[in-house]
Assembly symmetry: C2
Amino acid sequence: MDLRRLRYFVAVAEARSVGKAAERLRMAQPPLSVQIRKLEGEIGAPLFRRGTRGMDLTEAGQALLARASEALALAADGAEAARAVASGRRGRLSVGYMFVLANAVLPRLIPELRRSIPGVDLDFAELSASTREGRLLDRSVTVALCMPAIHHPEIQVARVGAQAFMLAMPIRSPLARLGAVPMAKLQGRPLIALPWPDHDPASSAVAALLRRHQIVMPIASRVETVHSAMSLVLAGEGLAILPACAQLGAPRGIVFRPLRDATDSIDIAVCWRRDSQSPLIRTFLKCAEKVVAPL
Amino acid sequence: MDLRRLRYFVAVAEARSVGKAAERLRMAQPPLSVQIRKLEGEIGAPLFRRGTRGMDLTEAGQALLARASEALALAADGAEAARAVASGRRGRLSVGYMFVLANAVLPRLIPELRRSIPGVDLDFAELSASTREGRLLDRSVTVALCMPAIHHPEIQVARVGAQAFMLAMPIRSPLARLGAVPMAKLQGRPLIALPWPDHDPASSAVAALLRRHQIVMPIASRVETVHSAMSLVLAGEGLAILPACAQLGAPRGIVFRPLRDATDSIDIAVCWRRDSQSPLIRTFLKCAEKVVAPL
DNA sequence: CATTGGCATACCGAAAACATATGGGTTGAC
DNA sequence: GTCAACCCATATGTTTTCGGTATGCCAATG
């Protein structure tokens, strides 16, 4: 059962004539006649009544015609759908994001994405520091909006922006009265640290920042997320040095202050599998750059 | 876009491996690999990710897979449907019938047909003496249940039964008191004749019957249908010689009596286009024979 | 470093399809 | 009634495509 035969069959059925159909198919009449007879042989029954004025579908032919044209349309549609997905006009894009960025980025990123790739279904998944690599590698997310960037040989990274470090403290803290906190004021105060491993730029950036100013802050706790850090800060366990965007998700009672003399920042990055050839990644990257730049 | 390629594609997608799929398709691995690449060339995008452990669908491939398997199923279903129609397991049968036979035959014929060919849609159309040939020739009915049979070179006829002629008269007629009416009693009485042409066996049968008994009945009226004949008989315009089955549709006030010494009858026939190759005709004929025989 | 497993490529023989030429049957015109 | 026109079917040669065998390439594995 060949699709070409079905195409020929439909053409002959519509033209009600082998000759006319052959003309429309840009081929000679005899081979078309042969193909029709082969199809009839395959089916095991005549599909046309041959008259002196052309061909006319039998009942069996009518039964076949309906499904044959549907099958043709489906095949064409399948090819078109595959092309559309390959070109990025349609498809699905799984976006992973770290929760620190959710409040600052998603409200502007999502409308931008919907405008850029209206035919694409989007779905979003929150990533944690410990799962984000795995989710990219097993392709359960296609792109990840990360802070800080992922370092992995299989994963490609594009920096789309950065956030300055700020000091998070309880509103009742004496430091909160200052417009900007001098680094020297941090000396000896307990620090709520994030669990990012030492080779990771975020943790090393905070560590380097302190080291550069010759500040020592004892680590009061190590927590999993920026939100936990803020909870402990609110509880008076210590201070935290966090990216500025964390302010947007901060609970009441926490205030952020810039660190005077500290221009250090942490990158916002888009990450994806190096071997992923989805054209949506480039579009996503453009959107992310556009949306993150003003921050 | 060839259906074979789609079949191969689906096989590879399901087996997630060219080698396994080739085995299942009873062919060698290299040509299958070539076909897949040709399909990818046709689509213009890779459909599989080639890993060291086999093949894995890309998004584009997934988009194609859904429609490709549907298209395959539709094509197979189309072929099957055509075969089913050709073999008479499914399809449509348009049955024409003349109204004289409706009361006597249809109530038993229709259930019999539905039992014999449950997958076939039936539709029924009443035929008149003047349209029945045309309806068969233009295929708007496939078979016709006729009385009398049709004579036409393109139309094939199978006799399935016969009905004796009876005399139809008003219940108040003096003849109605007889159990059977001797032919001699008809001499000179007015006859309500049907318009069947002279070469037609029905009319000629009545004419021959009268001629054989040397009876002359002046023609009071010529009417189109058996029912009209009975109306005129009821109105006292004359007598009618009608097939026995017409009794079932006779209005109150009409009685039928057998004609003594007259064994003449008129055929009940199934008629169809000689070139119609529908297998349903044979089944229909069997049903009609079975149902008409006891009459 | 060799071996294994899996896909891709090269080449050849076989099968299928297409084009040209032609036959046969029916319709319609003169 | 004959002839021309029309349309589908058949026959034959050429070209395209497909499938099989042999082999190469690459990565993972031990």
